[in-house]
């Protein structure tokens, strides 16, 4: 059965063989393909808080840590451990926010997330996610490409490769960034690695025109554009016949896609036409670069059939080296921006009947220490925490994931996972499972062996699946 499933994916993914029925050389590499089994989710919105937000001020309530605030961190926690910046013996830092229980499920949330309580009963919080990387770039690569090193395809590429797209006028995998910077790992975390390059994430600009040069120049009409692209593609097909380089085929289909996108993109990428109550809900302001604008765009893209939308929001690296990265200052502002947009996104997806088939994932690349950072052995001037890989919180919603559910527990100070520990690979396996894939069977033959997103690890987190 597994072999059959694999075969069908491989067969249907044999994109570049022979001529098509309509006489063209290239079959559409984004045309839908069969998953292994019927998935509950059809699309994914992955919200990545680049820099790694502090779970201890958002989701993981640790009253015991409050009592130990200011005490030296017990030796047992730091002995033999490496940290990005902490040196010597740091002091424990109590939660810098108040927590309350919300919703019918009674899950704990901090005051930093005043809107999220309205959607809490649609969300599963994972409190014991574990990674083995404590620096931003490798940890981000691990989260999205299944390895801390460069060169592997990203999750969005795997998914578009496996499922194709339902709208041939738009890319299958779109990336939007906010916070003023790209994530530390660079554009590789939405790259296609060794998969055909049509599956790489298409990054749209967050400010101004989403895609440059969408308008035809004056005096150059649509028919002429069509004729010129056909001419270019004819030449490309000739070179393909001569060199058989699959990248030429990728280029041909990208020209065709670009032509279609000229019509479809301005419409879907403009939030200006959205009604006032939607702008009110998300906190969006057309024209500026913001996470809220991107959240709204994510909804617009998913409702038009885009398979995978990846949002990166920079600015969560709360070391406490300055006011903007202090847990009781800049971090709160960051939480509030995020909270409103994210809550609005879930409410909006739900009211449009999209949440059932859209899997929303939220998280950073790791978490933050229960200790206050003491860079080079000296207490930082503001309240901040260092990078922490042993346990952190993420959440998932929609796409067949349980609502109002919490999975996993950390120890009383939030350092280690003590129950329901899941790895980054488990997260990836779960996402693929919800889309209808056995993560061990979604493979691609490269350099003489099959590769997969989860390398040789991972297990779907079945207890959180509804």
């Amino acid at each position: 059965m597994g072999m059959m499933a694999l075969g069908s994916v491989l067969d249907s993914c044999n994109l570049f063989s022979g001529n098509n029925a309509d006489g063209s050389l290239v079959s559409n590499p984004l045309s839908p393909r069969s998953p292994h089994f019927q998935g509950k989710a059809k699309s994914v919105i992955f919200l990545h808080m680049a820099g790694a937000p502090s779970q201890l001020e958002m989701f993981d309530y640790k009253p015991e840590l409050q009592k130990m605030d200011g005490l030296d961190c017990p030796d047992s926690f730091i002995k033999g451990k490496k940290f990005a910046f902490i040196r010597g013996v740091p002091k424990l830092l109590g939660p810098q926010a108040n927590f309350k229980q919300y919703g019918q499920s009674g899950l704990w949330l901090s005051d930093n997330l005043p809107h999220f309580q309205q959607v809490i009963d649609d969300v599963t919080i994972l409190k014991a996610v574990n990674t083995d990387q404590f620096n931003h770039a490798p940890a981000q690569l691990l989260m999205h490409c299944g390895t801390p090193r460069l060169g592997r395809p990203s999750m969005g590429s795997w998914v578009t490769y496996g499922l194709g797209s339902e709208n041939s006028n738009l890319p299958g995998f779109v990336v939007l960034t906010s916070g003023g910077r790209n994530p530390d790992a660079g554009k590789s975390i939405w790259g296609s690695g060794f998969l055909p390059s049509v599956y790489q994430g298409v990054q749209c600009r967050s400010e101004g025109d989403p895609v440059l040069f969408l308008e035809d120049p004056n005096g150059f009409d649509r028919d002429m554009r069509k004729a010129s692209i056909e001419a270019i593609n004819n030449v490309n097909e000739l070179s393909y016949a001569e060199y058989k380089d699959p990248e030429i085929l990728a280029r041909i289909s990208q020209y065709e896609m670009a032509f279609k996108m000229q019509i479809a993109v301005p419409d879907v990428m403009s939030i200006a036409d959205e009604p006032a109550y939607i702008h009110e809900m998300y906190g969006t302001k057309p024209g500026e670069e913001s996470f809220a604008n991107n959240a709204l765009l994510a909804r617009k893209l998913v409702e038009k059939g885009v398979r995978f939308v990846q949002l990166f929001d920079w600015g969560w690296d709360s070391h406490g080296t300055g006011e903007d990265t202090a847990l009781d200052k800049g971090f709160i502002g960051k939480c509030l921006q995020n909270d409103k947009a994210v809550s609005a996104l879930l409410l909006d997806l739900k009211q449009r009947g999209l949440l059932e088939e859209t899997l929303v994932v939220w998280g950073g690349e790791f978490g933050r220490t229960p200790m206050q950072e003491n860079r080079d052995g000296k207490q930082n001037s503001f309240k901040g925490r260092d990078h922490h890989s042993d346990a952190f919180s993420m959440w998932m919603a929609g796409g067949g994931i349980k609502g109002g559910f919490s999975y996993g527990e950390t120890d009383p100070i939030g350092y280690n996972a003590i129950e329901g520990k899941v790895s980054v690979y488990d997260i990836q396996a779960t996402i693929l499972k919800q889309l209808g894939f056995d993560h061990e069977q979604l493979t691609y033959q490269f350099q003489g062996r099959p590769f997969r997103l989860t390398d040789v690890f991972g297990k779907p987190i079945d207890p959180i699946i509804a």
Binding site: P32, L163, E166, N167, R352
Partner: protein, 464 residues
Amino acid sequence: MNLIELIGRFHPILVHLPIGIFVLVIVMDGLTRFDKFAYFSASIRLILGIGIVSAILSLVTGYTLSLEESNNQDLVDNHQWTAIGTTALFTAYYFLRQKLIAKRLAHTYTLLLLLVMLAWTGHQGGSLTHGEGFLTEGIFETKTATETQLNIKDINQALVYKDLVQYTLNQKCVQCHGAEKQKGKLRLDDLTWIKAGGKNGNLINTSNPADGELIKRILMDDIEEHHMPPKEKTQLTDAELVILQWWINAGASFDKSVAALTPDAKVMKALASFKAENQNQEKAIIKTRESIKPLEKKIQEKLEKMGWVISPVASDDNHIRLTGYNIEISLKDALASAAEISEHVIELKLSFSALQDNDLNNLSKLKNLEKLWLDHTGIADNALKQATALNNLEYLNIVGTKTTASGVKNLMNLPKLKMIYLQGTKITAEEKLALESIKSNAKLYFGDSMKSAITDTLFVKKAE
């Protein structure tokens, strides 16, 4: 099935040829001892030769067959190596027979060895096709009744071993460790066998539970070969594992009730979810849709030319989901073509299209529809009239349309309908209440507005 697989499938027929020929060789060779049959000797080389050729053919087909997946890979491997060994022995005998015949005793032992090898190989092959233990079924059995019904009235009075642990073992283990098969010489279908353990011994260790083979193998990472149950089989639920460990920690007694073993909070939680988790697992396995033939390639191409995007549901399910974002012809014609493949279409998505009521004249023909998106289109109540014939419909999305309460009302007694999304329709607040008071399986969702959070501005100020 491809040609290679076809060759492999001949193996079960072909193997009988060398078996028969080799048995004949052994019998004839034995009989040459008697003067009356001494003349057999002249034919044996030829018959043995034919036997070896047929054995090699069986090896080739057998190897091809072994490339297909088996649920007993170990036995397949063993069978392969004994078969190769047996063929090699017969081949050696072919060349050494002249020398051996002079030594009467050595010759006899050789013939016996060949017979044993042949029988052993044959038996392994038989176990593969009929299942291990097929031969001795009904001879060595003592007790086969296995309880697979979970029947607990009062959880506190339930017997931990009999009602919970044995139930779990019956569900997840007994298929291979029971009356029919005893892999690793282990049976888990009754307490006498559980006490006896398997060939690796130490099944349950009450002083160090993690060291007992049972728990050790269940907890082992599933990439390990010895992980149990095997990866492709249904795994234990979390609750089952918690209860199993609790039972062993508490001394693995076979007669105590739940109350007698004083469950802690974690175990109580597991006990509460025990039944539900089992049912969820069963539900996931049951498939409800009828199997149908794949969509004809010609028809698929015709629909794709119109702009329909066809998504296959799953690799083992030929039903499809039709999406209409890219339709380039009139929607009415496109839908007429979709109606021609009504057997296949279980999901239809027309969101954000220029759809009008009269485009949907063929909607009622799409009898297998389970999900339907008509949101953000020009439709009104007439479209919903067409939908009243869709008896398999589970999900309906009419967000942002001109539909009204009277149109929706007609749909509410559709037998399978679970969810209607109605945000942004023409339904008034009063009508909403009236609709919600109608008894129906369908849940109506009108959307929730965002409540503003009072702390908002305060925090932003603080942050700045």
